[in-house]
Amino acid sequence: MRSALLKRFAGWIGSWSGPVQLPEGRDGVMQLDITPIFEGDALEVGAIMTDQTGQVLIGRGIGFWSLERDGRVCCVMYGGSVGFTELLESPDDPDALALSGPLGDGRTLTVMYSQNDGGLQLTSSTSEGYTGSVTVRNITQLRRRAESEIPPL
């Protein structure tokens, strides 16, 4: 029997990649892997960002998504530049997942996943206080990674 978490995110499970522009203006590539663990009791969501050659690791993050009693997604996560935090789902449209939570320095981190045109868009931003400025960290349009078509021998 599939868990409620798996039912909701079944279409997102797998490996995704896409171009990413980093705040410093550098272009890179993000790879995102969404993997069920413990029979779908939770999802492990890991991302790494490299430069365009794939040789230099420029960013990384990993988290576990699970469902709270009220059905919202809770995420414990680590990001290379933001450290460790817990994010909670804010209500949004059913094809999207918006998670936000506090960073140690008083800022709030918001990570938004939304499904569009068969792809997955990931946006992350930080904000200061309730009315403070919002800094968009990155917007990435991800496509499902596909096996290349290898001609038969």
Partner: protein, 166 residues
């Protein structure tokens, strides 16, 4: 020094028979591996009944260096759900982790390296408001041995590739 360095020798699969917090016998399997481009240490833990039918407790944790240099982690437990974990200072060869769950409990997990191929695992939890754990606190424990591939005479394989020619 990379704070993960003391534990890199633990990478691999470990297993053993122990006792669950309820006192029931349990089979434990733990795997340490590198993830996130080699920048973080993953610990996957499973404690099952001796018949391998029921997962008593499954935990997956990722340890990594925080921006301030400390080693911290995230964990997901099939009992306690997701929580953040801290490495508490301890002797060399000891990994002592603790974390507070959203359900109001505090978790304690310790791996003690007895030699290169033997670890001793113990774990317990109690409500945040309860008195500190004593020696009589129920805990899960298991001696873990490193699992090595069985040595055997390999069956004949495919013919060797011819040497490359210029």
């Amino acid at each position: 020094m990379n704070p993960l360095a003391p534990f890199l020798g633990w990478i691999g699969v470990w297993g053993g028979e122990g006792e669950a917090q309820t006192g029931d016998p349990t089979i434990v399997r733990t795997e340490f591996s590198l993830v996130q481009g080699g920048t973080a240490l993953s610990m996957h833990f499973e404690a099952c009944d001796p018949g391998y039918r029921i997962l008593y407790h499954g935990v997956r944790a990722i340890l990594s260096q925080a921006p301030n240099g400390d080693l911290r982690g995230i964990a997901y437990s099939t009992i306690h759900r997701g929580y953040l974990i801290e490495l508490t200072p301890d002797d060399e060869g000891v990994m002592a982790l603790t974390g507070a769950t959203r359900g109001g409990n505090r978790i304690f997990v310790t791996f003690v390296q007895e030699d290169a191929d033997n670890l001793l695992f113990t774990a317990s939890w109690r409500p945040n408001t309860a008195a500190p754990a004593g020696d009589d606190t129920p805990r899960m424990s298991a001696p873990l041995r490193r699992l090595f591939p069985m040595k055997f005479e390999r069956p004949p394989g495919p013919p060797a590739m011819p040497p490359a020619t210029q």
